[in-house]
């Protein structure tokens, strides 16, 4: 049974429906990639999972239905969502940002986790008492990732992490992502326009077009398939 399963999910914004019957599954320990052009419905898919928008159809997390639940509730089930724009708490310090990630945890390992992420992302450690809003895009993305990880989530939803980032920084980011997946068995659903990098890290890929899944398959296959690449992925 997949960790996350969407069955015939439709939804959107008021009278404008964006998703039309999406079927999608993410296996535990996998990195699933959702690709597509602007306006295809990638971000909306993540919002649907998080409960930010109302949906029809079924969304199962670990076998239990979560559609219709409020975002706070979905998050507490162990789903961490890094939105587009990174969701930085700009008026809080870097350290406080990370603590927000752990705000619902009751265990005693929060401090050690904090130390750990400062080690993995040394630049965050250097700026731990700085206001998060003063950091660059790339640093904020790292911060968002670390903050999401502070919640020790079972599923990580990432919305276009490469947006606005320099290529080297993006490469770095996906490298971290890959490591987290390999070392921790973190399950990830990443939505991206930068298909190349995402598919290299991913296990399974979906291509979204106008709110429908048009192609899916093993990531490596999608990456290498000439026709798919040309038609949908632009490279």
């Amino acid at each position: 049974m997949s960790l996350l399963q969407l069955s015939n999910v439709s939804g959107g914004y008021g009278p404008v429906q964006v998703l039309h019957g999406i079927d999608l599954a993410v296996e535990e320990g996998h990195v699933a990639v959702v690709l597509g052009a602007n306006g295809a419905g990638k971000t909306t898919t993540l919002r649907a999972i998080s409960g930010v928008i109302p949906t029809r159809g079924e969304i199962l997390f670990d076998g239990r239905p979560i559609n219709g639940r409020r975002p706070e509730a979905v998050a507490r089930l162990g789903i961490a969502h890094v939105p587009q724009g990174r969701g930085t708490f700009t008026e809080l310090t870097v350290e406080d940002n990370l603590r927000v990630g752990a705000v619902n945890r009751r265990d005693d390992q929060i401090e050690s986790d904090l130390a750990r992420w400062f080690e993995v992302f040394p630049r965050l450690g250097e700026r731990r008492h700085q206001l998060a809003g003063s950091m660059s895009g790339g640093e904020q993305q790292m911060l968002a990732l670390a903050r999401a990880m502070m919640a020790r989530p079972r599923l990580l939803l990432l919305d276009e992490p490469s947006l606005g980032l320099a290529p080297l920084v993006t490469r770095d980011l996906f490298a971290h992502l890959g490591e987290l997946n390999r070392q921790e068995g973190l399950t990830v659903l990443v939505v991206e326009q930068n298909a190349n990098l995402a598919l290299e890290v991913g296990h399974w890929g979906y291509v979204l077009e106008s709110g429908r899944i048009v192609v899916q398959g093993p990531a490596a296959q999608l990456h290498d398939d000439e026709s798919v690449r040309k038609a949908y992925l632009g490279f």
């Binding site: 914004y13 008021g14 009278p15 964006v18 306006g39 990638k42 971000t43 909306t44 939105p83 724009g85």
Partner: protein, 364 residues
């Protein structure tokens, strides 16, 4: 800003490219959406009916009501001006009462101390208010949203103090009452109160048309661009400072004209009340919001609604006058709840929905 969830049920475009990144704040009406022919027809009909009513009103009503209507009209003018600054340009001001006061006292002083004819004082009042607006607009560049609102609030509080100190009216207080005769109707077939109403109406229409033209011009786009995304606006060549300061000056001028007209309608310029101009500022803001910001007609509707509300809550409870502000406050809250886009905004949505209904669809 955080990813906006557009819960509106208008037929406005869905969050476009990128599913929400960097678009205008949720709920902002699209700039100039194409207006379907059906809707345009309805608007024309409404416009004609309103115009007829507006022209006929002064003959039908008695002077006291005409006075009320005239008040609504000059409040509408000030609100329109404020809307240019706040609704279209995004600079929140709680100080337009001060510009209003500048206009009022310019007129009053010219009339009382120098014997000017009322009508000639209006342009001077406008010019002076514009100058003050300019003077405020410059430092306003440096100050953001919240703080700007508070500084302008300070202006509204400061103004009556200035008048109390420097203006010498009848009996030594800062109250100026130009003689009744100075407001005589210039047209023989109109009574004084009808003349006052007429002047206000003409001013409103003229300034309204000007506002509309401004908003639809390049300058207008610049205004809105500055409101929505300042940095982006500069990249397309908008001179940020010039736009913001000019808008301030223009909107102050509107308030000044309103103030000037108020001297005719109310027959006085009152500088003795320390919170009067603050109250005026709030009035204008309320008119803008409940009428519908970022629309031309909104402030007008808002002003009418405001005066009507105030009048009715005052009349409603005999003997318990102290309850009137509570009812008034409750009414304001209710309106904002039911019509978050203001009356005009809500009306437009209704019209759009009606026009989009399958039975009303035209073949395109």
């Amino acid at each position: 800003m955080s990813a906006p969830v557009d819960k509106s049920d208008t037929t406005v475009e869905a969050p476009a490219a990128g599913d929400g990144a960097g678009t205008a704040p949720a709920g902002t009406p699209p700039l100039w959406p194409p207006v379907p022919a059906r809707v345009r027809a309805v608007r024309v009909v409404i416009g004609v009916v309103l115009a007829a009513a507006a022209l006929y009103a002064p003959y039908y009503f008695e002077p006291a009501t005409n006075r009320l209507l005239s008040q609504a009209l000059y409040i509408a003018i000030a609100a329109m001006g404020l809307n240019l600054l706040t609704g279209f340009n995004g600079q929140v001001s709680i100080g337009h009462g001060a510009f209003f006061g500048v206009g009022a006292f310019t007129t009053a002083i010219l009339m009382v101390d120098h014997g000017w004819t009322f009508e000639l004082t209006i342009p001077v009042a406008a010019a002076l208010s514009a100058l003050v607006g300019l003077a405020v607009g410059f430092p306003a560049l440096r100050v953001r949203g919240l703080y700007l609102a508070l500084i302008t609030l300070g202006l509204a509080v400061l103004f009556p103090r200035l008048t109390m100190k420097y203006v010498d009216g009848t009996g030594g207080v800062a109250l100026l009452r130009p003689a009744r005769s100075q407001f005589d109707s210039l047209l023989t077939f109109l009574d004084d109160d009808q003349w006052a109403y007429g002047l206000c109406l003409v001013a409103l229409v003229v300034l309204g048309v000007l506002a509309r033209n401004l908003v639809h011009s390049r300058m207008g786009r610049a205004l809105v661009a500055v409101r929505d995304q300042e940095i982006a606006a500069t990249t397309v060549g908008v001179n940020l400072a010039a736009t913001k300061v000019t808008t301030f000056a223009i909107s102050a001028a509107y308030a000044g004209v309103a103030g000037s007209l108020s001297v005719m309608v109310d027959r006085l310029a009152d500088g003795t009340n320390p919170i009067l101009y603050f109250q005026r500022s709030i009035e204008f803001l309320v008119a803008v919001v409940i009428g519908g910001s970022a629309t031309i007609l909104g402030p007008v509707v808002g002003a009418l609604l405001l005066v009507a509300l105030r009048r009715n809550t005052e009349d409603l409870i005999e003997g318990k006058e102290v309850l009137a502000p509570a009812l008034y406050g409750a009414a304001l809250i209710a309106i904002v709840f039911v019509l978050p886009d203001g009356v005009v905004g809500g009306f437009r949505r209704l019209l759009a929905r009606w026009a989009a209904a399958p039975s009303n669809q035209e073949d395109h």
